[in-house]
Symmetry: C2
Subunit: 370 residues, 2 copies
């Protein structure tokens, strides 16, 4: 690790720093107010002042995209009351210096325009570029200046004036010219899921040259639809999409992204496993969990073949439920925590949307419904 | 999945049943009282009555081994008050029909003697055998009959009279004659960790025939020591054990299980990563997290090489902290949820203890300290 700069004050809108040993400012440690020593994601409160350190990037924020689990929790905490949801989001951001839902532990992402780039930033960004952050809002210093006046508190996409900070060890994508920014943001928000699905199928083919079946839970959502499309492209022999209601079933059948579409509640393990097994002719070699409600761990495990893999991409996943559930079922499955960062993930997901109109239409329909 | 039996009543101490479709009693669904439809681990309350169904096994319980995270939480909730800890464990078991800590979500395991074996049980057990359950207490119907009178509430190992039920899809190990039962139980409790470590190293060698370095966090504990021994046996090129205090460092150095031993707080990501990187000459290819305190996710990710793997074997792991932490660090690491079930795991762990006196001594010292 490189030597780091300990930022000790502001000067002309920039942090000034001094060298101090072996710690790494690139991960944003200097922005952590409390508790000391943890990384920004684990911090309770960040310093969101707009001055930029030598390796930081300042973003003029335009829109937040709240994580689905977070928005769902906020909406359920304030049923039918959009202004209460808005007030709570404002309160969280003011209190924590970031949009980090303390109940779900999740955040979301943002789009905006690059305003200033520190001379040592390795991200390759230039002022004036419109970008989407590819790191979570749970670790991104953020301040809001318009009271979220343009948002009614009723959807995940939040028009927003304010600023945010990107660190050196971070990730951002320049928004493509050929796609609507809201669509691009929605896709980039979940681009880790199709990328990891692709990687797992490639690994399966490398390890064993056998047919591979894939089940996607929550298949009509953004990450689910992209994962289904990625699975088919990466050579899945047979795919099933699981959805919770008839409207989603009809939409997914019309999209033609899966070989089979079944209706099941992913929180009911035995009916879920029965449905998946029936559709695939056996349990799935890879099960991708994209459902944003708690309690889907056991069903996913039960629906997966011995030696198979469960990829948890839902922020509502419980670590202990998964670990103890697999053990308790004597289930020899590999369980992966969905990592939102996979090299090339943004480009791959945008390519899927460009090349497969069905994916694009599903995501647009989902955005319209939110 | 086979057809299942819906147990509708007791007769001569046995459940009686009738066939009812495609659901599976082998996972213990018929023992779930609330909420309906979830598996026993996810249930709030189980039916722990001693009657056995045709595929169940009744165990006369002798000792519980509380999960480390669970016991730590109980002890911290009642500092210095062993009888309050005991009362709370009794309350949990009476209320839930299982020892499932509602705060940590974790349980532990048990030893006892096989009392009755249903005619359709596939576990291969016989009445009179002394066994350890290899599935978590969080899903094992359990009733206590002695008020835990033999336990002072001050250690993880709980002498206990009562009974428990094993399902068909379950796992149990007959206790070996040549090892002290307390030692065997302590080893079997964590036997998934060395088994999964071994499997990951084998996979690494299969995928890439390159040197592989391993870091174990919490290396002087039971699962940590076993994982270190397993890593070396499975061909790790270099290993480092991370411990939080000088006493553990001295013990681990004396055991000679790791190529290097370093002192670091796994909750402090940057110092941890610096220590691991210094000891291994670079970040770890595989990091095994065996620390039973929350907040170790980011350090583990930061200590792991791009393309490497983090194996989370601590029940204190937060799914969201891991998922968002890796994304936020733009860290291309594979993150695994430690699955306590790996075929052959019990035999492998017991063999490590038999063949490596240093592992045995470390675990015995740990048990004495608890």
């Amino acid at each position: 690790m490189p030597k780091y700069l300990l930022y000790v004050g502001y000067l002309d809108g920039d942090f000034t720093g001094k060298e101090a040993g072996d710690v790494d400012s690139s991960v944003g440690l200097h922005r952590v107010l409390e508790p000391a020593g943890v990384l920004p994601q684990a911090a309770w409160r960040l310093d969101a002042r707009p001055g930029t350190g030598p390796d930081e990037v300042l973003i003029a924020v335009e829109r937040l995209n709240l994580d689905a689990a977070s928005f769902r929790q906020l909406r359920e905490a304030h049923p039918g009351d959009g202004s209460a949801v808005r007030a709570e989001v404002l309160r969280i951001i003011a209190e924590r210096g970031k949009m980090h839902n303390p109940v779900t532990g999740s955040g979301g992402m943002l789009i905006g325009t690059v305003e200033r780039v520190g001379p040592d930033s390795p991200l390759g960004l230039r002022p004036g570029q419109r970008v989407a952050s590819l790191v979570s809002l749970t670790l991104t210093p953020l301040a809001v200046s318009d009271g979220l006046a343009g948002w009614d508190g009723r959807g995940e996409q939040v028009p927003c004036r304010g600023h945010a900070i990107l660190f050196a060890r971070s990730a951002a994508a320049v928004l493509p010219d050929d796609l609507d920014p809201e669509l691009a943001l929605a896709v980039l928000d979940v681009c880790g899921a199709p990328a990891l699905t692709t990687r797992l199928l490639a690994r399966h083919r490398h390890d064993r040259d056998t047919p591979v079946s894939v089940a996607v839970l929550g298949a009509a959502g953004k990450s689910g639809a992209l994962s289904l499309a990625a699975a088919r492209r990466a050579g899945a022999t047979r795919t099933v999409g699981v959805v919770p209601c008839e409207a989603e079933r009809d939409r997914l059948v019309a999209a033609g992204l899966a070989d089979a579409v079944v209706l099941a509640d992913a929180r009911q393990p035995v009916p879920l496993a029965t449905a998946v097994t029936g559709a695939l002719g056996g349990p799935a070699d890879l099960t991708v969990v994209c459902v944003d409600v708690p309690g889907c761990e056991h069903g996913a495990i039960l629906a997966t073949a011995p030696g198979g893999t469960v990829l948890f991409f839902s922020m509502a996943t419980s670590f202990t439920a998964a670990a103890l559930g697999a053990e308790g079922l004597a289930a020899d499955v590999t369980m992966l925590i969905g990592n939102g960062f996979v090299p090339g993930h943004a480009e791959q997901a945008l390519a899927l949307v460009r090349q497969q109109p069905a994916v694009r239409h599903l995501i647009e329909a989902r955005m319209a419904a939110d």
